[in-house]
Structure formats: C-alpha cells, structure tokens
Symmetry: none
Subunit: 365 residues, 2 copies
DNA sequence: ATGCTACATGAATCACCCC
DNA sequence: GGGGGTGATTCATGTAGCA
C-alpha cells in the first residue's frame, strides 16, 4: 500500500494497518484507545438499577505491562506515519492516560498541551466514596520538539467568543439523537461527541489535510472530518463497528469548502455563536437571513463567523454593516427551522444551548 | 527519630528526612514536586515586558531519566511512611504529571481520582501558539488497592451546595493578599492557593490526623492543616523557604475544634434494630407496617427480629423477601406513633435514639 | 401543540462490619 | 480470612407516556 486510502474505513489491527501505510504521510492523528478500566464488580444505582459498565473484551488487559506493550506498539506505528509537522491527540482517563503520556514522551513526542474535557453531565459516584469522575484528558503532542505545527489560533479564538481557547473544554457527553443505536441499545459503548472532535480538528488541521483515527469505533472523527473538509482514514478492528461507521459516513454530508478558509479574529459575545456549531444546532454552510428577510442572506462559516456579500465577520459585525447602526446579531439574524418551516432569530438557538450548557440552578440559601 | 515531629518544618532533603520517620505513621501526604518545566528561552508579553518564569535551580533536571529517578525516590520514601489507610495527593502539570502517575502506579499506589484544578485566572498564551494552559492536575491515590481510606463525602457535598463534589475544581490562582511577598517580590514562585489545600484536607483527612508535605515550600499545607485541626509535618530543603514557612505558621491560628465535627455517618457507631427495644422506643409485640401499608404487618420479637407471615428474621431480611429486592429495612418498616396517630418509618426512632446516645461530640483524639 | 411526571442512562477502577 | 448480613448511596438530560 504505497498511496493513502483516503476517506475509508479499513478493517484490521491498527498496528498492522499502520505499518502498511507510507511513512510521514499523515497530518493529524486522533486516537481513542481502550482505557483499561479494570472493573471488577457490578455497580447499582441507589434505586437498585444496574449500571452498564464498559466490560467489552477489547478493554481487557492482563496487567499494566500488557497495556504498556499495547500502548508502545500503536504509538510507535502512529509516529512512523505522522508527518514531521504532524500532531497527535490521545484521549483517556486516569486509568490509562499516565501510561500513555509516559510512553509518548519517551518515544520523542513533545507535549504541546493537555486538555481536560469537562463533562457537563457526567455519571455521579453512586456510592459517595470518591469524587464524581467528571472529566477525561486529551494529550496534544507534536512529533518532535521545535518543529512547525498547525494551530489555528484565530479560529479557536473566534470559536470562543474572541477569547483565547483554554485547556478546559466544557462539553456534554454524547447522548440523545447524536448517540448511535441498534435496536434501542447503544451501538458503541464509548461514542465520542461531535463537538469534541470539531474543536480538535478545527484547531490542529487545515482543509485538505489527512486525519487518521487508529481506533475508529463509531466513526465520529470521520464524520467531523467530512464536515470540515478534511480527508480521513479510519482503522477499526471489529467488523461490526467498521460497518457501523461505514453506514454513518455514507449518510454524512460535507460542508461547502468556501466556508473553510483561514480567518482573522473578531469580537464575539460571551456565549459564542461558534458554540451553536460545535453542538450541531447549526452547521457550516447554512444560510442566515438578516431580520428574517430573504434579500440579505449570509453563509455560516466553520469557525463561527459568517460571510455576507464578500465580507466576513461575526454575526454582530456583519449585522452592524447592513443596518449601519449598533445592533445585536443574535436578534437580527434568523435561521430556517425545517421543523415548522419558519424563520427564527438565532437567539432562539442560543437560549436552547444555554439551557443545555448552563441550566440555571435554584436559588440557594 | 522514632516519634513523629508534629507541627514542625524540617529542613533537609525529603528522601533523607522521610527515611528517618517511622513507617506507616502518616495519614495523608500532599506533594507539590518540581514540575521539570524545561523552559528554554525567556518569554515576553506583547508589550515586551518579561514574563517571570519558573527558572529556580530546584526545577532543573538533566533529562527525563533524571526526573524519573528523583520521582521514584521520593514516591518510594513517601510510600514507606504512609499508613495502609493513608492516601497521597500529587499536583503537577503536563510536563511532569504523566511521569509521576506512571511511577506511582508501578509502585502499587491505586488511583482513586484525578482532579483538575481549573484556574479562573490563568496566564494567557502570549504568542497564540497553543491553548491557554488553564489547569493543573492532581492525582489522588491510596497506598494499596481495596484498603479503607478517608473520603468525607458529606463534607464535600455540603461544600458544593448539596451536590456531589466533582473532579473539576474551579479556583483562582494564588494572588493578592494571600500571596507571600518579600520586598515586593513573590517569596515563592509556585505558592499554592489555600482554597485548593482546604478542599484536599477536608476531603481526605480527619481532625487529629497527620498530614505530611515533602515539598513544603511556602507552607500552605501547614497553614490549612492548622485551620482544620490536622497535625502537619513539612519538609523543605531550602533554608530560606523553611524560614518563610516557619514565620507564616507562627502567625496562623487554628480553627475552633467545635467547627470540625464529623459529618460522615460511616464513622458513627452502628445502631442495630434491637437497640430500639433495649431503650424502650419500641416494645416486643408491637406491629410494624411494610411501606406504611396495613396489608403487610409484622410482629416485633424480643430479640430484635420480626415475624411476618410465619417467617422470622431481621427487618432487612424480611423486607428483602417482601420487596424481592435489596432494600433498607429502616426505611421500609413503619410504626404507629400514638402521639399524633400516624405511621412513621422506624428510621425516625433510630435518629431519635442517636440524638439521645451520641450528643454532638467535640473533636476526637 | 403544551406541560407535567415518570423513567432511563452515561468509559465506574463505587462498602464494610462481624462472626 | 472468607462469607453473609447490614445499610448507605445519585446528577443531568433525553425520551416516553399521559392529561
């Protein structure tokens, strides 16, 4: 295999498949390896219902040494196919992330950041014997210290309301309609949310780049790569997951490439418009209507800005240009709600997202 | 040194000092080791002012291997002095925490949680080449898997507005009047905020426990330990920091013991159902009502068992038989209160007896 | 359609005493 | 030390069912 099998799911052990790929050919790797959870007994909620733990056979290792060998093998194989300018993301929990980070540093990867995914709705600790485990950790590392790498600072800043994107990402877990199901049961026990991958790919790759995921699973990485105009390669050992991902990707539409070009920073409000994109309430390429009228339309860009009449900027900036007055973009811009075929202010979506992210708590004494 | 040097700062290398302490004598260790930051060049803000990085000699290591040796040495020494029921906290950043976590697991420590300290006011990434590094990581580990350990669940829940404390802690960095200064300059480059230690010590120790900090620095651990009625031992290599901490601790006042009462029911003595009979709150021959309904009644026997439908057993056993599920007999069974002619759970009587037998006590030991 | 309640569930290393 | 009994323990969110 000398050329890259782009935009495909490849069935097989990731080390073997990686070793057949040409060296230094991948721009970005996102890896979601087994966490080695080591669950022993069943766990019940206070109402005595049983918690469905992750006890899949792919997460069973004899001991730490076996897990270390596994980790070194796939990290080394990834390192070979990564371009000198490429970066690697790995997600994990306290069960495995210290082993991953240790070996990754030993192999010569240079950590650029670690990111904590703060879950807005984690599962509680039912027995009250530890802290609620409310986060997972991502390590972002380049192949070699000092090499150039891709970090789309302005896109991240735009996505974060004109403030620098920080290392703590507050996002909900994957649930509801986003969660893939088969006969009512979850199709994959550890499906990652699209918003997480959206931020990773937008930050650390460019349109046309090749993004590889050695533990493809349900294929979230591929779906978001398509949204963002990145090529993707998914490696998955389990034929059932491979089929699942193939079906998913066959139904994923790509965003128009015009929305994906490089950008400059803009002013944004506190809850940024980009959050609507991260959470899938809007998609890049959708049309916005100024004051709900069809003669002024704008195009939603992937980093949370909009394009109108050759101009690019935040919803507020563009709205000011059109109205020639200080206006609030959240009220001016409308989106088409296909559910009831009406135009609504995007502020409607913001309220919806607010209720998702910051559900107001009762007043306390 | 056979007895513990309580409530003192000891000057010396922590491994040497730890090796002179008796084994299995410490309840809690909080360690804030050098982070091995490996800063190469000076960093300037956009206005060209110089950023005061951590370039102290105590944070310089030749390479990862040297740092690993250092880490293994102090972790091993800590492990020896820790009680079987003791736990260890280590704080670090992505520079060192993966090495710490790896070695700690290899030594047999069992991770209970990792905690992310989210800084509400971190230093921005001035050059815009990475994400703002807005967090540090703490690992909380017990000496050995499966041993009992201290976690004050109710204290944590109360501290968090009656919701379980999560693994993400949003706290500001140490600044303002809390920050120790000498001639206007920071007295210690990595002084930790008291709020962080407050949560650690309140969660994982009890009044009277011995808390040890092998990298005492400015002495935040000691100050909070005094606040919370814990004994403390601080080890610090640098004589200047040792003096700084001694001055600080001399001016720290301890909390009134009455404010430190235990709220964890696990530490309260157990009251069997028969105690209600012994103390006359119930009498043999009385009727109990399952879930307050009159169709399931049981007879109280003199030995603290109940008889229901020919079966005899504990309140829990019989309740489980009726409910065909794991239930708590204290909640299921009701008694008739002649005072106001209502049915109440027998747990009401238990609470009453508890308040009679165990008047809220002062600090123990 | 709207609103309310009940129910389900999420990468989980989830008890402890006493015989 | 092993086994059985006692009894302590949950938050956010989405969906289904029903009025």
């Amino acid at each position: 295999m000398s050329s890259l099998p782009l935009d495909q799911v490849i069935q097989g052990d990731c080390v073997e498949v990686l070793n057949r790929l040409p060296p230094e050919s991948i721009d970005l790797i996102f890896a979601d390896p087994p966490y080695n959870l080591q669950l022993r007994n069943e766990l019940r909620r206070p109402d005595h219902s049983r918690v469905a733990g992750v006890t899949d056979p792919w997460d069973r290792f004899a001991d730490f040494e076996a897990y270390d060998q596994f980790t070194l093998a796939w990290l080394s194989a990834c390192r070979r196919v990564l371009k000198a300018s490429g970066t690697l993301w790995v997600i994990g929990s306290y069960h495995n992330i210290y082993r991953v980070g240790y070996h990754l540093q030993n192999l010569g990867f240079w950590i650029l950041n670690d990111i904590v995914w703060i879950k807005t709705n984690p599962m509680p600790n039912f027995r009250g014997v530890r802290f609620t485990n409310a986060h997972e950790t991502l390590i972002w590392a380049q192949k070699e210290r000092g090499k150039p790498y891709t970090f789309n600072h302005h896109a991240m800043k735009a996505l974060n309301g004109d403030l620098q994107m920080r290392s703590d990402w507050h996002l909900p877990i994957c649930s509801g309609s986003e969660r893939l199901r088969e006969n009512g049961a979850k199709a994959h026990s550890t499906q990652k949310p699209r918003a997480l991958l959206y931020r990773v790919l937008l930050a650390a790759s460019n349109p046309g780049d090749v993004v590889l995921d050695p533990f493809f699973g349900s294929g979230t990485t591929g779906e978001v790569a398509r949204w963002l105009g990145r090529h993707w390669i998914g490696i998955e050992r389990d034929p059932r997951y491979m089929e699942l991902a193939r079906r998913r990707l066959a139904n994923t539409s790509a965003a128009p490439p015009a929305t994906l070009t490089q950008t400059n920073p803009r002013r944004e409000p506190r809850l940024p418009f980009g959050a609507l994109l991260e959470h899938g309430l809007l998609q890049a390429g959708q049309t916005l209507y100024f004051e709900g009228r069809t003669e002024h339309t704008a195009l939603v860009l992937a980093d949370g800005r909009v394009e109108y009449n050759g101009m690019r900027g935040s919803i507020h900036l563009i709205a000011r240009q059109i109205a020639a007055a200080a206006v609030n973009g959240w009220q001016q811009w409308h989106y088409f709600d296909p559910h009831d075929e009406t135009l609504r202010p995007i502020d409607h979506l913001r309220q919806k997202l607010k209720s998702i992210l910051f559900k107001p708590r009762e007043e306390e004494e």
